[in-house]
Symmetry: C2
Subunit: 211 residues, 2 copies
DNA sequence: CCTACCGATCGGTAGG
DNA sequence: CCTACCGATCGGTAGG
């Protein structure tokens, strides 16, 4: 059953994943040939097709892998969030920084949501729904206790913030410089994202650390 | 100099534009063959290549056309905005509805911002900069007079709102239903977008019409 | 994991 | 605006 003989396990398969996420994110699925992925890995095309029977199968495996990485990282980020104002901005910042580690994750997510909405919806709901429903409940509890605005629509709020985060990483610099943001590692975009998200959620302003 | 003999002018060229925007938006540039655009128009491939020397030239013309349509529509929408709270939400709603007329406009814009950032930046700055700088000044004036929050970063704020609008039209239903928004013509997403944008901008809440 | 090879489709041209 | 045609590249298979 050990599909590999011995020694290095599925090292090649992992490298195919990495390069596929990168290239699909940069150039899109249709804009990326399995030939180019193979070259990036350093193998021939038929060798790639031994690991993934078809380009379509690679695409689906890449989506699952992409969402799985989030599913592993999200809990760590979110446990910091259950503490009201102060940790809120740091959590959103961490979320942005997580995507910023590899911009192509965000780009690929956007592309797949446009091109294969049902597939990515299914994977997200399967692997991320515990965390999203936890966040919804967190907001509802905050509304009951009065720290979160009563007119927040929890699901729609989270969806809008999520889109802002992904979008800021994927095309924030482009939209930003269209509107004259100084960019330079688009910090102003992230700061404004945090400010908008916070003021739209909480009833009071957080205490400022240093003016 | 009249490039067409007589009778019907560039009716075919316009139809090529329309189908190209639609198909590029739906399937992306790499995912759309000029063959498929020709078929949608009802002509043969070489006939399309008479109007646009290459697929790349068609792409560039489509971008210019896309931004030009916004440049024509934006003034009408924005003249309603110079009136404070009440017209603010109706303006954002109109903006969303404008994109909603043809969802592929938003999708194409996102794709091109990912794939050809410099090109779309140049076209936007050339044709839209009067309106964007007007909006920036409008926010700054509001900050001086105290109706707009002092800690708003005008350019970054506009960039975030613009991204939310485009994103809500392009993939709002997908992200929304991931998080359990009831969707059904994703009205809740638009309402939350308006609420977030408003509360993040103004110092006071608008008067409510009907509770 | 490779070489060799396949039919289909791609963007584009010749020439009318 | 069309027919006819081109080389290049695509995803994928045979067979080892």
């Amino acid at each position: 059953m050990m599909s590999k003989k011995n020694g290095k396990p599925n090292d090649v398969k992992q490298r195919i994943f990495d390069e596929a996420i990168r290239l699909f994110g940069e150039n899109g699925y249709e804009g990326t040939s399995i030939q180019s992925i193979s070259e990036a890995v350093g193998i021939r095309k038929p060798s790639l097709l031994y690991h993934f029977k078809s380009k379509k199968e690679l695409r689906e495996a890449v989506i699952v892998r992409l969402i799985s990485v989030w599913a592993e990282e999200l809990p760590r980020l979110l446990t910091n969030a259950r503490n009201g104002h102060d940790r809120f901005s740091s959590t959103i910042t961490s979320l942005v920084e997580f995507f910023n580690q590899d911009r192509n994750r965000a780009r690929l997510a956007i592309r797949e949501m446009m091109d294969r909405p049902e597939e990515i919806q299914a994977v997200v709901q399967e692997r991320l729904s515990p965390w999203t429903s936890m966040l919804v409940e967190y907001i509802q509890l905050g509304q009951d206790s009065g720290v979160i605005k009563a007119d927040v629509e929890p699901q729609a709020y989270l969806a809008q913030v999520m889109m802002m985060v992904i979008e800021t990483v994927a095309i924030g610099d482009v939209v930003g410089s269209m509107l004259g943001v100084v960019d330079d590692a688009n910090d102003p975009m992230i700061e404004e994202l945090v400010r908008i998200s916070r003021v739209a959620l909480f009833t009071k302003k957080p205490k400022k650390k240093k003016p």
